[in-house]
Amino acid sequence: MAPLVSISGLKVAFDGTPVLHGIDLDIGKGEALGLVGESGSGKSVTWLAALGLLPVKAKVSGSVQLEGRELLGAPGTELDSVRGRRIAMIFQDPASALNPVLTIRRQLCESLALHRGLRGEAARVEALRLLDLVGIPDANRRLSAYPHEFSGGQVQRIMIAMALAGQPDLLIADEPTTALDATIQAQILDLLSAIRREFNMAMVLISHDLGVVAENCDRVCVMYAGRIVERAPATRLFDDPWHPYAQGLIGALPPLDGVRRKLQAIPGTVPDPRALPSGCAFAPRCMFAGDGCHAGVPPLAPLEDDRAVACLRPQRLPVELAAE
């Protein structure tokens, strides 16, 4: 089946400093893809670049296709028919994405007018339906409320409602629950997966939280210093990560049950994009690194049908162990 969105060789540079070094990524219809990585790994920049949302000074090259239509370099009018309509995005800080001096109704109806051409009573009815859908109680009365009258979790629900206004095929959720408390995070993730099932909508979930991604995605890409270093089905990645960085991320997470062990911290820090090490960017922090690792950048190579890893020395479990 042809992918919904296909990104290939996507590169981004700010002021001559490359921050994204060629991303290849396909998302199928209705698929949930997770992007994990630490700050500065390029998870958000990938999608901001794909949707033409980066400032002018950013140099973007490569290709981003939505069902065969090229988005990079497309004129603004064409992008406007994609952004919010075919591909919608929600962010970590929902409160700053809403206008504080306009009612929720005005803002929801604006989206509906823009993307669906709905006006007046039709728009109001649809806005009401959307608020109901995302679980805002007493939606009829709350339509005329202002953003500050809602709690953080509710504002994120409203953002999701606005994102759904254009009936998108793909929702990019950039750290949607990071600013929320644990019990509210569970509510929002629950809502997102219910909506995905109902509308067969694809989703890209960008998060630094491995647990969130593991539980809500089919496939996961691990990013490090502007590259994808491992791509695998979610369940298999967390049971048996191959890339030493992916292993490090999982080992660094304190367990919630079982015996307490010393955490496997990854030594050192994420490299500065202006001074990337030669070869594999992770090599200086990697306990398995050898001479070859410093010589050249390992490509993201498929090792099995559905798995790929960018590492010269992937740490695969022996077959009999992996089968357990």
């Binding site: 644990a182 019990t183 539980e215 955490l263 820090t269």
Partner: protein, 330 residues
Amino acid sequence: MTAALVEVQGISRTYRMRSGLFGRPTSVHAVDGLSFSILKGETLGIVGESGSGKSTTGRMVLGLEPPDQGHVRFDGAPIAPVGTAAWRAQRARMQMIFQDPLGALDRRLPVAAQIREPLDIHDIGTKAERDARVHELLQSVDLSDSHGRRYPGALSGGQRQRIVLARALATKPDFLVCDEPVSALDVSIQAQVVNLLIDLQARLGLTMLFISHDLRVIRQISSKVAVMYLGRIVEHGDADDLFARPQHPYTQALVSASPAPGRRSTNRIVLTGDPPNPAARPSGCAFHPRCRHAIARCAVEVPQLAALDDRRQVACHLVTGPQSQTQDAA
């Protein structure tokens, strides 16, 4: 038997808040009748969501904020009034670390000079001794003298937090309050700092109060854990046991809400209803509007924190014995 270093007896803190410009001022009970003690060399973790009063508790324990009611005792003595000589002497023995290391450091001063500052303030040692101590402190947090000559802006987030930690340890404190010290750090760096804290605690015999919203970090670092909800402790017990067998419905929801890589949980407890608002505290048990097991009594009567067995205390009308109802239902 080990003696308690920190004893907290029924402390409360109320803030006055106005809703809107002309609204009537209302009282917000940030912390409501909290009692606990921390034994020497022990780490108590306080976990809770925003608005649960965990940071206010930390500030009251340190004497940064006076409790409206109740009292805090440190090593057998009450916390001295702020600004007195006795308070200074006490404060040298208790230190704190906050979430944002950049906010806690002076950007225009090399970090070594900042580590040295407490030694100057409390007049500890000669000049040469202070230099040696700064070197030793930098080493104890796995940093070099060359890091010490840098300004905070030239260090990474993890390194900055290590500097804050080194400075907190300068006066050889007995007691450390850490308020979300690793929440702003990336996972791999977070693990470095957590490991370091655990090592230092064991090596220096520190007593710690560790405040976080992150269950995993809390469990890793604490020997005992207190779960807070709207200004009260709802459950208290040994860290491993509490997370393995949570008794209070809120703790159960928290544990269940914590996503785990590797397995998809099928029977997650998703709480309905709004997040807790300290300005509009529900009657009775503050958790009852979101509780799956709530009965009529919960809306009327505030449950007291009561011992379930010798290791666990729970504040819930429905959890009364080792075979609790909520456990069966879950």
